[in-house]
């Protein structure tokens, strides 16, 4: 598969709206940080070292068996246009750091985009698995399979006391970062997020908004992940995240019920206004789009809005970002042009989504 396939397609398997609790948990991500013995870490290494690392990781993965060879595509960052790099970042297939390492970075992408192995990011190897919905165990098992495959051939930097040795001491030990991306509009609207963030951070977990820079999470999407990687087994880290995610899901559901009970008309009005905005607006900023998409998503989840498919919303969250818009437009756009083009794409997509879904359905 060529890199163009990854860039043209705004959908990834993690956006399919499957998996457990997919009304609240958008995706689950597992990341393992690994390094090879005998080479300095990317902060300190030479391009020659980088090249050798890249060669041995790529060949190990691609030569492992035919399945994987067919499945994985190796992409060197230097061969991807700047816009292309931005698109890969917006799809969460590579990190911004890797996108900014054009001379040394590369990535191995699986065809369904659920696995990406970043080479020479902050660490020599970063195995990432991205699954739809809440699938912590499944995503970990996938990452673990790749990890075992690599460790059979490659000498990992490992220490009996400190575990997997990583460039940043915040990853030392298991090198495992497990995270879930959650859509929490009701907890946000009822102003409970601050309290939840405080409690969660006391439990050794981190919450942050994943889109946008400000303190407010764009589109009410938050990422919850483990903070500590040392002194806990992989199983415990995963189990703790699972349990915290389930508790947040529970709280979000309660908050949704409360909203529906207290002010059903106001809520319905607000959610449909957002759908109206998405369907007819001519200029749309990222912030407004994210807010409206969040409302519509909530409307679908609680059964108020019926004729739009959830996976379309996940896709909209991705392609409304600047890199994707410009990729679609086939040209660079200034901010106003982007707002215009964004409004147009969202309009078209939502109308198409409505048609696709009502096709073959009995009229209500």
């Amino acid at each position: 598969m060529s890199i163009e396939n990854f860039l043209d397609n705004s959908r990834s398997s993690w956006m399919e709206g499957e998996g457990e609790h997919s009304d609240i948990v958008m995706s689950t991500r597992i990341r393992l940080a690994r390094n090879l013995n005998g080479f300095r870490f990317p902060l300190a290494f030479t391009e020659d070292e980088a090249h050798k690392i890249d060669q041995s990781v790529s060949s190990t993965l691609l030569d492992a068996d035919e399945e994987l060879q067919k499945n994985f595509t190796s992409v060197h960052i230097k061969d991807v246009s700047e816009l292309g790099r931005q698109v890969l970042v917006e799809k969460h297939l590579i990190s911004p750091k890797l996108a900014n390492s054009p001379n040394t970075g590369s990535v191995l992408l699986s065809e369904d985009e659920s696995v990406s192995v970043m080479v020479n990011e902050e660490d020599h190897i970063r195995i990432q698995c991205l699954f739809p919905g809440l699938q912590i165990q499944q995503a970990y098992e996938r990452a673990d399979t790749i990890d075992r495959l690599l460790e059979k051939e490659l000498p990992y930097a490992f220490d009996e006391q400190f575990g997997y040795l990583t460039s940043c001491p915040t990853n030392t030990g298991t090198g495992l970062r497990a995270s879930v991306m959650m859509h929490l509009p009701a907890l946000t609207k009822t102003k409970q997020m601050n309290r939840i963030v405080t409690i969660i951070s006391r439990l050794g977990m981190v919450v942050r908004g994943i889109y946008g820079e400000g303190s407010e999470a764009l589109g009410n999407v938050y990422q919850v992940s483990n903070q500590t990687t040392l002194g806990k087994t992989e199983e415990d880290i995963l189990a703790d995240l699972q349990s915290i995610a389930e508790q947040i899901i529970q709280k979000e559901r309660e908050a949704r019920d409360a909203l529906l009970q207290h002010s059903p008309n106001t809520l319905e009005d607000r959610l449909y206004r957002s759908l109206g905005t998405l369907s007819y607006a001519r200029l749309m900023t990222t912030e407004e789009a994210a807010r409206c998409l969040s409302d519509v998503r909530l409307g679908i989840d609680i059964g108020l809005i019926k004729d739009i498919d959830m996976s379309i919303l996940n896709e909209c969250m991705i392609f409304m970002q600047p890199g994707f818009l410009q990729k679609y437009a086939g040209t660079t756009l200034n901010a106003t042009e982007r707002d215009m083009f964004r409004a147009k794409l969202l309009r078209e997509r939502l109308q198409k989504g409505e048609k696709d879904n009502t096709k073959g359905e009995e009229p209500a």
Partner: protein, 179 residues
């Protein structure tokens, strides 16, 4: 005063950096200070010097000063000094862990909720080795107990078992499993 970084929140933390003998003072809010300098931030009213910060960090005021006078702690492999590690908050290579080993538990403790030792997965053959070591430790404990209870026959058996396992560990004998 407003935080230099986000220019939003009030600055509460002063970080003094020493670069080529020159002192730079930076004023950050707690949020930015934590994300920019997770390693040597202390919440105190008075600005702290790098020296003070480092010594608080290690809890061994004298040692750092001594090291300054003699020779700074450096990694043989990548040449990074421990000061550079603290400044960047990153290691230069895997050998840095070995070079700075005595100081690391202190540092890691802060980041990992008081933990300093890995108990998770280990790569293949090394993982087997570690498992073997743990088994030997467990049997030694049993042996000690047997001796205390004057069950010398059992103790002797356990001792032989330990010997076998130790041989296995030293030789890396992968396929000779002793039960």
């Amino acid at each position: 005063m407003i935080c230099e970084n986000c220019k939003q929140r009030p600055a509460k933390v002063t970080v003094t950096q020493v670069h080529n003998g020159e002192h730079f003072e930076r004023h950050y809010c707690e949020v930015c200070a934590n994300s920019l300098h997770p390693f040597y931030v202390e919440y105190k009213q008075d600005p702290l010097s790098l020296h003070q910060l480092l010594s608080n960090w290690f809890n061994q005021a004298d040692q750092i000063v001594q090291q300054k006078q003699q020779k700074t702690l450096e990694c043989d492999e990548c040449g990074w000094s421990i000061e550079r590690f603290l400044e960047e908050g990153k290691f230069g290579c895997a050998s840095c862990y070995e070079s700075f080993r005595p100081h690391l538990p202190q540092a890691l403790k802060r980041l990992h909720n008081g933990n300093t030792t890995h108990i998770g997965k280990a790569p293949g053959r090394l993982g087997e080795k570690i498992a073997l070591k743990k088994r030997i430790e467990a049997i030694r404990a049993q042996m000690k107990q047997a001796v205390e209870q004057e069950q010398f026959e059992d103790a002797a058996k356990l001792r032989d078992e330990v010997k076998d396992l130790e041989k296995q560990l030293a030789g890396g004998g992968d396929d000779s499993h002793v039960d």
